[in-house]
C-alpha cells in the first residue's frame, strides 16, 4: 500500500519538533519503496498537498491530551480531533482542507489517516534543537508504533 509517513512540527522549537526526530530514526528501519518518509514543518493546505496521492498517511505530531503523562504515545484516527490546526491564525485546519478537497471532487485523498501522538503539556516557545528528557524517551516508542502501523514489526 502506498503510504506516506510525515513528522509534523518545528525542529528548532525543542519538543515541538518531536515528530521530525521520529522520522529521522525511522529512516534506519524503513526500506520499503512504497513507504515515503518526510518532514513536514507546515500545516493545513501544505500538509494536504503532502498526503495527496497516497492510500494511507501517518502523521507523527505532539498532542495535548487530557489525563495523559508527558511523553505518552497514542495512536489516533484523524477523526478523533475536532480540528488539526497549527498554532497560527494564517493557516487552515487540516480537517477543513480535507473537507474542501472532498467537496471539490479530489480523488487522491488517503483513505486512512492515522496520527501517532506524543503527549506534551505545553506549547514550545523557546528556540532549541534538543528534546526534553521525557520526550526524548518517547521517540523510540513512537518509532515502534509507526513500525507496527506499517506492519514492519
Amino acid at each position: 500500500m502506498k503510504t506516506v509517513v510525515l513528522g509534523v512540527g518545528n525542529p528548532i522549537l525543542k519538543d515541538d519538533g518531536a515528530g521530525i526526530h521520529v522520522i529521522r530514526q525511522l529512516k534506519k528501519y524503513v526500506k520499503d519503496p512504497d513507504v515515503t518518509l518526510d518532514e513536514a514543518m507546515t500545516g493545513g493546505m501544505n500538509l494536504l498537498d503532502m498526503i495527496l496521492g497516497y492510500e494511507k498517511a501517518i502523521l507523527i505530531d505532539t498532542v495535548k491530551m487530557k489525563g495523559a503523562k508527558t511523553g505518552e504515545v497514542r495512536r489516533f484516527s484523524l477523526r478523533d480531533f475536532p480540528s488539526v490546526h497549527s498554532s497560527n491564525p494564517h493557516d487552515v485546519d487540516l480537517l477543513e482542507a480535507i473537507k474542501l478537497a472532498e467537496k471539490l471532487g479530489e480523488t487522491s485523498i488517503p483513505k486512512e489517516i492515522v496520527i501517532v501522538g506524543i503527549s506534551v503539556n505545553e506549547s514550545q516557545h523557546v528556540f532549541g534543537e534538543q528534546l526534553s528528557e521525557k520526550i526524548l524517551k518517547a521517540v523510540p516508542k513512537a518509532v515502534e508504533t509507526v513500525l507496527s502501523e506499517l506492519k514492519i514489526r
Binding site: 514543518m41 497560527n88 474542501l100 471539490l104 516557545h125 528556540f127
Partner: protein
C-alpha cells in the same frame, strides 16, 4: 478609567488572546490583545554559520518562510559586503511574487474573505472556505486551489522547496532558470493575473456593492489614523523585495524615507507590562500611548500600510485598481482597517503582473547568478513580508559565525495598531453587556484584517483556531469566553 494590569501568569502560551473588560453599564472599558512571543532566538543563532541563517530563519515561521529566507539572504549580502548580480535579484523577486500569490489568495478565500462572502454574523461553522464555496460555487473553489498551487509551484521551481526554500546565498542564488521553466512560469502567471482580476471583481460584487459592508468598512470603530510604512522603489511605487522604507503621515505626506541600515535610529520599541510583544514606534514622533493621530508614533505596515505609504503601483492594472480604491474612499490616506482586504487583492494583481515582467526579462535565464563574497561583518536586510515590513540584522565574527541576531517581524511592527483596532472594535460593537458569537466575530475581524502571524510554527494538536476571546465584567470576573475550534 481604572487601570487593569494582567498578571504575567495569565499570559497565554500558545495562541493569541483578546481580553475585553466591561464597565458597570456593560460597555467596553478596555480591551487587550496578547500574542505569545518566541524566546531565545538570538542565543539560538549565536555561533552558527552565517550561510545557514536563510534556512534557519525560514523555519521560525510556517507562514512566511520565503520572506524570512530573503530578509536573511539580503542581510548576508550586506554582512559579506557583496552586490548580487542583477539576474539573481530578478530571480529572487520572481520567487517572491510566487509567495505573494499563494499567500494573498489563502488569506482572502480562507481567512479574511469568509466574513464578507458568508457574512460576519453567520454561524462560525459556515464562516470558512467551505461556506465561501457554497455561496460562490464549486468552480470557483477549483480555481482557488489551482492558483494557490501555481503560486507554490513558482516558488518551488525557483526555491527548490515551496515551504522551506534553499536557494538564497549571500551574493546571489544557487539555482537559475532554464527556458522550459520560464515558459512554465509564464503560463501559470498569465492564469494568475486573470484570477486576480476575477477576485477583485468578486470583491466588488460581494463587498463594495453591499451598502451594509461599505458602512461597516467606513465606520469609526474600524478606523485608525496612524502613520503608514512600506518599501518603495525609486518612483515611490510599492515594492515587495527591495527599496527604501517610506513613512507617510495621516494626510499621505512623506514623513520619512530611510535606508534599512538606519532602522534602529528611526524605530524605537516600547514595552508594556501586560504583553510579551514589543510596540515599535517612530523615534522622531515618540511614544504617546496606544493612541492614533499625528502625535503618536504608531504606524501600520502590511497591504494597506504599503499602499498608503506609496504613490502608486508599478504595474498598469494594479495602478488602475489602486487609483480606484483611493477614489472610492475620497483620497489618502485610507484609515479603514477593513480596507486591508481590498489592498491585499490589489497587491495580488500587482504580484502577477510583476511576475510576468520578470519572467519576460531576457536576463532571467542568465547563468551569472552569484558574486564572490567579501569579508564578514555586520548586515541588515529588509523585505516586505505579505503582512508587513520584515527586518533581519546580523553581526558576524571574522570567521563568518553569527555573533548577534535581531529581527523585527511584520506583526510586531503592527502591534500597536492591531491592539488599538481590537479595542476600538470591541468598544464599537459591545453595548450593555450583549455579547454573542457574531458580535465577538466583529471584534476578531479587526484583528484578522491585518493577517497577523504569531511568528511561530508550532503544531501541537489539537490546537484549535488559535484565538481566545475572554470578556470580563466590571468585577473582573470571566463573563464569556469563546475559543475557536
Amino acid at each position: 478609567m481604572k487601570t487593569v494590569t494582567i498578571d504575567p501568569i495569565t499570559r497565554l502560551e500558545g495562541h493569541g488572546k483578546i481580553s475585553i473588560f466591561l464597565d458597570e453599564a456593560g460597555d467596553v472599558e478596555n480591551a487587550y490583545l496578547q500574542i505569545p512571543e518566541l524566546r531565545g532566538f538570538e542565543r539560538f543563532c549565536q555561533g552558527r554559520r552565517a550561510e545557514d541563517m536563510p534556512q534557519i530563519t525560514s523555519r521560525i515561521c510556517g507562514v512566511c518562510p520565503v520572506a524570512h529566507h530573503f530578509a536573511a539572504t539580503k542581510a548576508l549580502d550586506a554582512a559579506f559586503n557583496v552586490e548580487p548580480p542583477s539576474a539573481s535579484k530578478k530571480l529572487r523577486e520572481l520567487m517572491y511574487c510566487g509567495y505573494y500569490i499563494y499567500d494573498h489568495i489563502l488569506h482572502f478565500y480562507f481567512l479574511g474573505g469568509p466574513d464578507f462572502v458568508v457574512g460576519p454574523d453567520s454561524p462560525a461553522s459556515q464562516r470558512n472556505v467551505l461556506g465561501v464555496i457554497d455561496k460562490a460555487g464549486l468552480e470557483i473553489g477549483k480555481e482557488v486551489i489551482k492558483h494557490r498551487a501555481y503560486g507554490q509551484k513558482i516558488t518551488a521551481i525557483l526555491g527548490g522547496k515551496a515551504t522551506h526554500p534553499v536557494c538564497g546565498l549571500p551574493g546571489g542564488v544557487s539555482k537559475g532558470l532554464n527556458k522550459d521553466e520560464v515558459q512554465e512560469i509564464k503560463d501559470m502567471v498569465k492564469s494568475c493575473t486573470e484570477f486576480a482580476k476575477f477576485t477583485l471583481k468578486l470583491f466588488d460584487d460581494i463587498v463594495l456593492k453591499n451598502k451594509d459592508y461599505v458602512d461597516l468598512i467606513k465606520s469609526d470603530p474600524y478606523s485608525l489614523k496612524t502613520y503608514n510604512m512600506g518599501l518603495v522603489d525609486k518612483h515611490n511605487k510599492v515594492n515587495f523585495y527591495d527599496g527604501m522604507i517610506r513613512v507617510t503621515d495621516q494626510d499621505a505626506k512623506e514623513y520619512l524615507k530611510f535606508d534599512v541600515k538606519d532602522y534602529y535610529k528611526q524605530i524605537s520599541e516600547h514595552v508594556e507590562p501586560w504583553s510579551y510583544m514589543k510596540f515599535p514606534y517612530l523615534t522622531g514622533i515618540g511614544w504617546h500611548g496606544l493612541e492614533d493621530g499625528k502625535k503618536s508614533g504608531i504606524y501600520r505596515v502590511g497591504p494597506l500600510g504599503r499602499l498608503n505609504a506609496a504613490d502608486g503601483m508599478a504595474t498598469p492594472l494594479a495602478e488602475k485598481e489602486y487609483k480606484r480604491m483611493f477614489e472610492t474612499f475620497g483620497g489618502k490616506s485610507i484609515n479603514s482597517t477593513l480596507a486591508y482586504h481590498w489592498a491585499r487583492l490589489i497587491e495580488l494583481l500587482y504580484a502577477t503582473e510583476r511576475a510576468k515582467e520578470l519572467a519576460d526579462d531576457h536576463e532571467i535565464i542568465s547563468t551569472h547568478i552569484k558574486n564572490p563574497v567579501g569579508a564578514p561583518g555586520e548586515g541588515i536586510g529588509v523585505v516586505e513580508a505579505a503582512r508587513g515590513t520584515l527586518i533581519h540584522h546580523y553581526k558576524l565574527d571574522k570567521n563568518g559565525l553569527v555573533e548577534k541576531a535581531n529581527l523585527i517581524v511584520a506583526t510586531t511592527n503592527n502591534a500597536g495598531a492591531i491592539t488599538m483596532s481590537v479595542r476600538d472594535a470591541a468598544k464599537g460593537v459591545i453595548k450593555k453587556g450583549k455579547i454573542d458569537d457574531g458580535i465577538l466575530n466583529k471584534v476578531e475581524m479587526a484583528f484578522r484584517a491585518y493577517d497577523p502571524c504569531f511568528g511561530c510554527a508550532t503544531h501541537t494538536l489539537p490546537g484549535g483556531m488559535p484565538l481566545e476571546v475572554n470578556v470580563y465584567d466590571c468585577n473582573k470576573k470571566l463573563y464569556k469566553s469563546i475559543k475557536r475550534l
